[in-house]
Subunit: 146 residues, 2 copies
């Protein structure tokens, strides 16, 4: 995995009444849930994301269908296919991400540690690269607890 | 609508990159998001729920497919069909709910105001009915802000 990212297996409660996956803040995932959003009806060929956050932590869960997530730092990159509602991709600060190959029926659920704040976004890759290199140099332990 | 429930239209950000619906705690919805869960792969004929909460507030959003929700108090009942990711059904305290007619591809997302607490559940309808009647009698304004 790319630094500051991790995959988490979520517990599924399965019985004759169906499947239920609970995610509790500061328990299942290591941060507050301040904001939730979901992305759907993304057409073939669309690639979105193209940003990093300075502080925000997120958990990405593909609750229906399938989507690919590119995670990237100046040092490494990894593409992850999310297609299982019981898997969460945790992304911490200073990770570039792009989302693509959404299936027609994909619903990508994102749980975020802070309210929306445009100043937390870095949308220009060259700006990101410079900030990330400095950040990574000064970082002691930045990895998300697993 | 049944007392202590309301339907909320959520803002959808739509562009050539798809649809995105954000839900922020104490902003889009009138409570903290402490816990999130989602229900899926519910087989035909299954009816689930059959409980009320004493304190918990929830927002129910069908992010894919379709599901029917029965909301009920000792005074009234209403069945709502959720089939639109931009609609949230808010359910406050002391409302009995049952969920049924899940489509094969249904994903029901629930945002909850508190962590899981078994003591907040009322699972026996006759117990619920008694508590709810007392609660409704003593209630001044219990309706969820719209």
């Amino acid at each position: 995995m790319v630094r500051n990212t991790s995959m988490m297996k979520l517990k599924v409660f399965t019985d004759q009444w169906g499947h239920l996956v609970p995610v509790e803040e500061n328990h299942t995932i290591p941060f507050d849930i301040k904001r939730v959003y979901y992305i759907y009806h993304v057409e073939k060929g669309v690639r979105r994301g193209f940003h990093s956050h300075r502080e925000l932590q997120q958990a990405l869960i593909c609750v229906h269908g399938e989507v690919k997530i590119l995670t990237k730092t100046p040092e490494e990159e990894l593409t992850i296919c999310l297609n299982n509602p019981s898997e969460a991709l945790l992304i911490g600060p200073m990770v570039w991400r792009e989302m693509y190959d959404f299936s027609d029926d994909a619903v990508l659920l994102v749980l975020a540690s802070e309210p929306y704040d445009e100043s937390d976004y870095i949308r220009d890759y060259s700006v990101y690269e410079k900030e990330a290199k400095n950040w990574l140099r000064s970082a002691q332990i930045h990895d998300i607890p697993r």
